[in-house]
Assembly symmetry: C2
Homo-oligomer: 203 residues x 2
Amino acid sequence: MVRISNGRSKASGSRRAERTRRAILQAAAAAFREHGYAGAGMREIAEKAELSPANLYYYFGGKDEILFYCQDHSLDRLLAAADEAAVSGEPPAAQIGRVIRAHLRCVLDELDGASAHLEVDALPAPLRRRVVAKRDRYERAVRALVAAGVDAGSFAGRDPILVTRAILGALNSTVRWFRPGGAVSAARLADEYADFLVRGLLA
Amino acid sequence: MVRISNGRSKASGSRRAERTRRAILQAAAAAFREHGYAGAGMREIAEKAELSPANLYYYFGGKDEILFYCQDHSLDRLLAAADEAAVSGEPPAAQIGRVIRAHLRCVLDELDGASAHLEVDALPAPLRRRVVAKRDRYERAVRALVAAGVDAGSFAGRDPILVTRAILGALNSTVRWFRPGGAVSAARLADEYADFLVRGLLA
DNA sequence: TATGGTTTTGAACCATGGTTCGAATTTCGA
DNA sequence: TCGAAATTCGAACCATGGTTCAAAACCATA
């Protein structure tokens, strides 16, 4: 494990290679969400991506590196959404609502975003550090929005750290039971969650 | 796997046997929380329980059966707390607050309660059915309290199913980051979470 | 102390699964 | 079309980890 040295492993050039890279990450994310990191096998990931198990090692250094890129990619999405909300100029409640909806969209609609925060401990130390650092950056960004609302007086004076973790915990746990095509749509879920959680913040 | 036939496996008699049974469950729960079900090894569980790996099979049929009893035990605790709140005669908001605090106490204070809801899919079908049934019973109990508040007009008219899942998701996710002896105590966490989540319910 | 049941264990078994390797196949510019 | 680079794969390697087994150690009772 941990045979990654530079940022990109080999084979980052061609257009086609980049496509199969994406396909692998998507297949892996689906497998991770179904059986967890340790439970999902390379053979299963290969089958979902429609190529041989050995071929995975042409694109990635190993199983852990696949998990790393899954998490890293979805964290980039989340961070972008949080930054976008922060500069929107809307009132704090609307900003948080934006972030909640964007977060759920990332986690539920896009297949490869589910394993963003789950199973960080499965990564070897150097990769884990990078993911944890990025995840903390996202958590701080959300927390800053909460704290801004508290300072402005529109939110109740609760601990922003705890409230932020409660919100993120509620959001991330949706991947455990939500299934596309089920009784509730992702859009309705996002609306209800946003209303409920934002209401909890208000003074 | 699934070599369990009757409710109790062998060796349920002596007082001492029952003690080591508990010790094994506690050690296993700690290991599961640390590395997940698939990630935690029987040798690690044995070491934490201070006995040999082979000895585990004198008390339990296998790894999956250990997970089953972990989940079953903590679900009993949660159900008892929910029932207790339901018959308290307090207003809905106070009842939900009670359940939230009890839930966090179960999940954070008692070491063997952490893996209650996580990793249900790891169980073989027959055991999984039993755990899922009990877990659903608990979720319905909490949902009934929420629905009662909505009907009484003290809660906003949101979907009780989604709101309940949001609450339980926030509560269960605490085991991912909470560590006893850390910056925040379990009691303060419970108070903040209860205030925040109950406030989200109010009309 | 002798005896039968309970409890514990070291060692090995065996399936699973991540990984490697060398060759075959495909791709693509010259 | 030719040949080098990129891509794919079957097969095997090997460590890990759940599990089994027969024998030893323990413990209560007669």
